[in-house]
């Protein structure tokens, strides 16, 4: 079958591109998905439902499968331990890595403990503490995003949820170790981004990532809370949308029928992507890594300007790419 060999060739090209040319890798990913991905014709709203599926594997389900000897580390060292945002150290193919993840509950009781994956300031501060600890020992950081958003409650505000997220954005942008971000379920707004700044960002096929939930968008922008389905389309929040918009580097396919039916294969695909990306990032000098991260962060989003000055500004600051 010629089709098949073309797909295979594409995969090989992607692998080659991932060594040096991330932008080509992204383009190839887009082509691959245009040609072979999502023929099922799943709507954005169906993706949202899949991303929130009660049986969808949680971060710990993947952590157990992808890393060896994972040891969870608790506490923000300021008087608390947020169970909605977990962290720890594990080994990936013999390399020690730090893992940070939003953890939804696996059942109702667990969800009460995990606050449905909605972290409070302490969770983000714990993540930052563990990230700095990783940096001190040169361990790469892998983060798994799965949250409806940061917890919008009184305690959260009192302890400065805005400050906690803001600090993470700033500090993660300068950590001198590789950071790989994988959205595994719901990528809910600032709460997701709080552990979402990194060198590579991937999304599971049926995950979503957006600035506000489709329900929130419907009630605020469309002024009709029943229009969440429409909002999900308009927001462009599926993995394919984000790849097309150039916000993520690639999509990780899930097992047959979705991750909730096949955690094993989904975990294996995550493993493959990490196996491909980690060595590339580890081999970069810290200065190069940070320079590339700067480029990426400063280039996020299109806008209009009479004379395009962003490029020259960035190269004045950092020299040539």
């Amino acid at each position: 079958m010629p089709e098949f060999s073309f797909q295979k060739k594409l995969k090989e090209l992607k692998k080659m591109a991932s060594e040096e040319h991330m932008h080509i890798y992204e383009d190839l990913s887009k082509i691959e998905h245009k040609l072979y991905g999502g023929e099922s014709g799943t709507t954005a709203w169906e993706k949202v439902a899949l991303a929130r599926h009660p049986e969808r594997p949680t971060a710990l389900d993947y952590i157990e499968r992808v890393f060896d000897n994972f040891l969870e580390m608790h506490g923000d060292r300021q008087g608390g331990d947020d169970a909605a945002l977990i962290g720890g150290i594990g080994f990936f193919e013999g390399i020690p890595v730090t893992v940070l993840a939003q953890q939804k509950g696996r059942n109702l009781k667990d969800n009460l403990k995990r606050n449905y994956g909605m972290a409070q300031p302490g969770g983000y501060r714990k993540a930052l503490r563990l990230a700095h600890e990783a940096e001190a020992f040169g361990r790469p950081i892998i983060t798994f995003i799965d949250t409806p958003g940061a917890y919008p409650g009184i305690t959260s505000e009192e302890r400065g949820i805005g400050e906690a997220i803001a600090r993470n954005l700033k500090e993660f942008s300068r950590l001198q170790v590789p950071i790989i971000v994988i959205v595994i379920g719901e990528g809910g707004s600032g709460g997701a981004l709080g552990i979402g700044v990194g060198d590579r960002v991937f999304m599971l096929e049926n995950s979503v990532y957006s600035v506000i939930s489709p329900e929130g968008c419907a009630s605020i922008l469309l002024r009709d809370s029943s229009k969440a389905k429409l909002a999900a389309e308009l927001m462009r929040m599926t993995s394919r949308d984000l790849l097309e918009l150039g916000v993520i580097h690639g999509i990780i396919s899930e097992g047959e029928g979705g991750a909730h039916k096949d955690a094993e294969n989904t975990a294996r695909h995550i493993q493959e992507v990490l196996a491909q990306q980690l060595p590339i990032l580890i081999n970069k000098k810290a200065s190069q890594l940070l320079k590339e991260r700067s480029y990426r962060l400063l280039s996020l989003g299109p806008y209009y300007e009479d004379q395009q000055e962003r490029g020259s500004l960035i190269s004045r600051l950092f020299g040539k790419r």
Partner: protein, 302 residues
């Protein structure tokens, strides 16, 4: 988000109880309240909407739009804000042509943008430039809540970033007046990413040993609070401003009860440790020049 009706609770609290009258905690709608500005109220009734003291626009202007009766700080328009901190004639705007492009083609967004542009005569919800503050050179950014609720899309994120990088490049301290309802949802994921972009630019500025001063004004909420607004070397706030991540209505619907009065106001944030100090508008300029003098860039930076 975070837009509130400011006229409802004035009667619940007398002047004696507090020098700072609270704006309502946001229980009442936005949609009707939003349209009618505080200044329009004064034009109509010749009285402060909070303490009901007789004032007119002229007196208010002379008093930097602070009510002489109850110290209520009215929202300032861009021009007034700039003239309240920059030495006369020194503000030189740059990168003013940057504007949004409707990156996810959200229905109705273009029209809304054009309307805001026509109404304000600005291209976007933030203006950036260089100026002198009591003779001291600085980079100055001012957000306008009047422009689509001061919301942050790519253009706003880019301009805030440019402001910070200008500071880094020209070795200037950076001053930013925040006023925003949060991310501009019509720009989808790109608006979220501006939080990462601007926060990163602050890291680059501060690594050069240069300070970033933020002044939080009413209101500063959502994605702006969860990024550059909370990353100042010094964080100042005007009295009575609403400052928070989640808006009051969102929190109330989560916890299913009413929020206490004063929740998320400047005074609350100072008490909780997230604002260095609250400064009256009339003292802001001298406070900023004091802070610029006190933050001498380090000689050796990486």
């Amino acid at each position: 988000m975070g837009i509130i009706n400011k006229f409802k609770t004035a009667t619940t609290r007398t002047q004696k109880e507090s020098r700072v009258p609270w704006r309502s905690s946001g229980v009442k709608k936005t949609r009707t309240g939003q349209k009618k500005s505080e200044l329009a109220y004064i034009d109509e009734k010749h009285a402060c909407p909070l303490c009901h003291r007789h004032i007119d626009n002229k007196i208010l202007k002379e008093n930097m739009y602070v009510c002489p009766g109850c110290n209520h700080h009215f929202q300032l328009a861009l021009k007034e804000r700039i003239s309240s901190v920059a030495d006369p004639g020194t503000f030189k705007e740059f990168d003013a042509s940057i504007r949004s492009v409707d990156p996810i083609e959200f229905p109705g967004y273009r029209e809304k943008l054009e309307k805001a542009q026509q109404k304000s005569g600005q291209n976007e919800a933030v203006s950036i430039g260089t100026c002198l503050i009591e003779g001291r050179p600085a980079a100055l950014g001012v957000m306008s809540f009047a422009f689509m609720g001061g919301s942050m899309g790519v253009a706003v994120g880019e301009k805030v970033t440019r402001l910070l990088l200008k500071g880094a490049e020209q070795k200037l301290p950076v001053v930013l007046f925040a006023a925003s309802g949060g991310a501009r949802m019509q720009e989808g994921i790109f608006s979220l990413m501006q939080m990462a972009k601007t926060s990163h630019a602050i890291a680059l500025l501060q690594e050069q040993g240069l300070p970033f001063f933020v002044v939080l004004t009413h209101p500063t909420t959502g994605g702006v609070t969860a990024s550059f607004a909370m990353l100042g070397n010094v964080i100042l706030a005007e009295p009575g401003a609403l400052i928070g991540f989640a808006g009051p209505r969102v929190i109330e619907s989560t916890i299913k009860q009413k929020l206490p009065e004063g929740f998320q106001r400047s005074e609350f944030q100072q008490e909780k440790g997230f604002v260095d100090t609250i400064v009256d508008r009339k003292q802001l300029k001298s406070t900023l020049s004091f802070l610029i003098d006190a933050h001498i860039p380090r000689r050796e930076v990486r």
